[in-house]
């Protein structure tokens, strides 16, 4: 490109250049992730976290539309971007003073009871302050691209190694294949209709009596609606980097692996100076490759794999195996991290300005829950996975699973599972599909023991945020348990955990483990909330414009 670009957008009175495909959050990131908002309940600073458009921590208002995910939104020339929720600003916010008056913060859930004379006042305060942003400005939504109805033999959702392998095999067998992906979907397989930057939002159970039993909705990044009809579906939606419980885990500077990668897109250096890397396996090694000596130290909740160990020794990165992360310190962003060996030992304070979470991958399983596939708890993954036939068929006829979404390891194993799913689909139920090892079920999650030890070692300082969307505290899970509420369904309703904008992606995996420990029964018995559509929050306009299938 070279030279200054004439294209720019405006944020807090400053012009920012538009650089390539770089997302809004990355464009606003200098040497640190920017504070972009405040949480509702306790007014905690919020900065980019997940990098996938799932979480609630980077919401901004763009051209009069609230709740725009700045990590995935690509700015356009002339955009006007503002932060919401800070009084007077999100950087220096005074609403925290209210917490002195109302220790439960802006509690929209349980209701303020005493003193009675404050009830009406509190209710008015909440009514004024709740919500992420102001309603959309009239006339704000941009014109929407025309909606469309798209048919195919097979719909493949997710264009990672598994989805690509399945698409290629199915197209070679003469099936018409439609491949959709939330990302840019560069270099799609030949002979496959591809739909980049498109999210499948709702896949209801199939109706076997229709010519196209599957009918799903999707939306592209401009909000254009798609109705996708197909005879079969392969779900290969991949996985995302999960969160971790510790006080300060919602501080600006705590990033998932994907969050760090997204914020660094289009630049050579890192969006931090000295980061603490959490994780011991391939995902952690990937981050060392990407950020090099900006990784100041690495901790693992268990051991370090050879990939991390080799890279760390080359770059002289100190490794702390089998460690507890006790706390992230710093008021408005991470200034240090407190870690301690598991099993006991003195705590160590590491001066870091970022904490990168690369310790677990969680499958994107919404599109298995929605059409009614049987699910089972996998302790190894620490999540629910679809129950699979040897080839990758789910319990729903015509619905196949492949890749990390179905619990297979990233890379070659995922790719093989994509081929296997395609073969199983082509072979139909009558003939034998090639056998493939289904994911392990039954082993306990490594995090179960970790959390038991961590909570035993907790010093009790600071707030433990279990859900950063709604500021649900860990102590509220204990409170619900003490009051006799049992199982995830009841505790979700009582505490609000899982009801926020991320739809529970970052809190429910931990909530299941915590409840399992509190209720002394296996995670699978704690249950799971029904996965409600849509997969991602989707504009009302995209539903309004969703085409109707001809009868």
């Amino acid at each position: 490109m070279g030279g200054p670009t004439p294209l720019s957008f405006r944020f807090r009175g400053r012009e920012y250049p538009i650089v390539g495909e770089r997302g809004l959050a990355a464009s606003l990131t200098g040497s640190h992730p920017p504070i972009l908002g405040r949480s509702i309940r306790y007014h905690r600073p919020r900065a980019p976290f997940c990098g996938t458009g799932f979480c609630s921590q980077c919401l901004v208002r763009v051209n009069g539309v609230p709740n725009t995910r700045s990590c995935t939104y690509r700015p356009a020339a002339g955009d006007r971007v503002v932060s919401e929720n800070g009084v007077p600003s999100v950087e220096y916010d005074l609403l925290g003073l209210l917490d002195a008056l109302f220790p439960r913060g802006l509690d929209t859930l349980h209701g303020f009871r005493r003193p009675a004379f404050l009830r009406g006042f509190y209710q008015r305060v909440i009514r004024g302050l709740a919500g992420y942003g102001r309603p959309p400005t009239p006339g704000a939504s941009a014109p929407v691209a025309p909606a469309s109805l798209l048919d195919s033999d097979v719909l493949v959702i997710g264009a990672g190694p598994a989805g690509r392998a399945a698409s290629t095999r199915l197209a070679a067998a003469g099936r018409s294949v439609r491949l959709v992906d939330r990302g840019p979907l560069t270099a799609p397989p030949t002979g496959v209709a591809s739909h980049p930057r498109t999210t499948v939002t709702f896949l209801p159970p199939p109706s076997p009596d229709r010519p196209f039993p599957f009918e799903g909705s999707a939306v592209d990044e401009r909000g254009a609606a798609r109705l996708l009809r197909s005879r079969e579906v392969v779900v290969s939606t991949g996985a995302y980097d999960g969160g971790l419980l510790f006080p300060g885990n919602d501080r600006p500077g705590v990033l998932t692996a994907e969050g760090a990668i997204q914020l660094a897109s289009g630049r050579g250096d890192a969006p931090f100076e000295r980061a603490l890397l959490v994780g011991g396996e391939d995902r952690a090694a990937e981050l060392i490759d990407r950020f090099g000596t900006h990784i100041a130290a690495a901790v693992s909740l268990s051991t370090f794999g050879p990939a991390v160990a080799r890279r760390a020794s080359e770059l002289e990165i100190p490794l702390y195996p089998r460690s507890l992360i006790l706390e992230a310190r710093g008021r408005r962003r991470v200034r240090s991290a407190l870690v301690r060996p598991r099993g006991g030992g003195p705590p160590l304070s590491l001066p870091v300005d970022a904490i990168l979470l690369a310790h677990r991958r969680l499958p994107n399983v919404q599109l298995f829950f929605q059409p009614g596939a049987e699910m089972e708890w996998s302790g190894e993954v620490g999540a629910y996975l679809p129950r699979l036939s040897p080839g990758g068929g789910t319990s729903v006829p015509g619905l196949f699973a492949a890749g990390e979404a179905a619990g297979f390891a990233a890379g070659a194993e995922s790719e093989a599972s994509g081929v296997a799913a395609a073969e199983a689909l082509l072979a139909s139920a009558s003939s034998a599909a090639p056998a493939l090892r289904p994911p392990t079920v039954g082993t306990p999650s490594p995090l179960e023991g970790y959390y038991t030890e961590l909570l035993g070692a907790a010093s009790g300082r600071g707030k433990w945020i279990l859900c950063a969307c709604e500021d649900v505290l860990l102590s509220e899970i204990d409170e619900a348990n003490a009051l006799g509420y049992r199982g995830l369904e009841e505790v979700k309703r009582y505490t609000g955990v899982g009801t926020g904008v991320c739809q529970g992606r970052f809190c429910l995996p931990d909530a299941i483990l915590l409840l399992s420990a509190l209720e002394r029964r296996p995670p699978a018995e704690v249950g799971y909330i029904r996965q409600r559509p849509p997969v991602l929050p989707t504009p009302l306009g995209a539903w309004a414009e969703l085409p109707e299938a001809p009868p």
């Binding site: 709740n67 929209t108 939504s141 199982g487 904008v501």
Partner: protein, 388 residues
Amino acid sequence: MNDGPRDRYAVAIIGGGIVGLFTALHLARAGAGPIAVFERGFLSSGASGRNGGGVRQQWETAATVKLASEAVAAWRRFPGEFGYNPYFRQGGYLFLAESDDEVAQLDRVAAVVRSCGLPILRLPAERVAEYAPGIGLRSLKGGSFLGSDGTLYPFPAIWGVYEELRRLGVEVFLRTPVVGISRGEGGLLQLRLERSTISAPKVVNAAGGWSGEVSRLAGLDVPNVASRHEILATEPMKRFLDPMIIRLSDGLYLSQTMRGELVGGLTVPHPTGTVAGMPSSLAFLRRMGRAVVELFPSLRGLNVLRAWAGYYDDTPDGMPVIGEDPRLPGFYHANGFGGHGFMLSPATTRRVAQAVLGERTDLDPALFSPGRFLGAVRPGSVERLQPG
């Protein structure tokens, strides 16, 4: 909680939703003896945890207006009486009419509501926007507004009553479906559970969408029909809308919660007869999206966060069924609330408890009794104002 149920109770209530819980509370306070509540799912797993939280006093039948006014007063008292505050917010109900028939219906409703002493406003089309800024409905012909109607958050009400019941020693058994009902020795009614059988002289069917099935377990033919309704919530935003909005033409209802979400649904009933799964549908999301965008064009960019479904318990005349079944002495109905059970529950359950205790209630048998479907009493008027 770990102990199983005992052999015998004074009253056994089937259904642990708000109607069953409130009924148990009134009975316990009246000293009715050992009481058990049997809930087939988890707490608030049925319609009590799935409704839109509306509380209105605008009805076509004066008897319902009176119950509703009593309920409004009770919801106002709730935070002082229980350990929770459901945030009952009296932002009013705004009904929208778009045809001459609907205008006539609002006139009838307004006359009834006024006769009950409530200051309902009938609005010409051009004044509707004063109560819902941003509304952009071209076909509007008029509206009605009653400021003391409102909305609440259902869960704290459930928790408040549930925890009070446990303090009073009422036994609430969750995840405990009743699988059989029969007449046992000494005239007692027997409830068969999955692992045991209990007996009680009096049994209340407060099973909401499941009430038809429960009555049939007891060998009673009832006209209750379960129908699936869907609902959605948007991402929370700052204050936008004060009243609950009801559009008569499609049954749309829409309000903003304390948390800032817009919550609403519309009438695309799926009468399934009995409860069969709780799936959402593309058809609902499409229709609801269209309806909201038509009402408030500026909300097109607002995100739908989640959608869910639940069951209404409908009756042929749109009125609830309260009282003892003449065919099976000791078996009481507290059902058929047609999507309005939660809002009216503080008032209706007092009458249920009175009936169980053998006291006279002020309910007109022609409107409320189970006998009205059996030719035992002449049926009264029909409640047609069903949405929201």
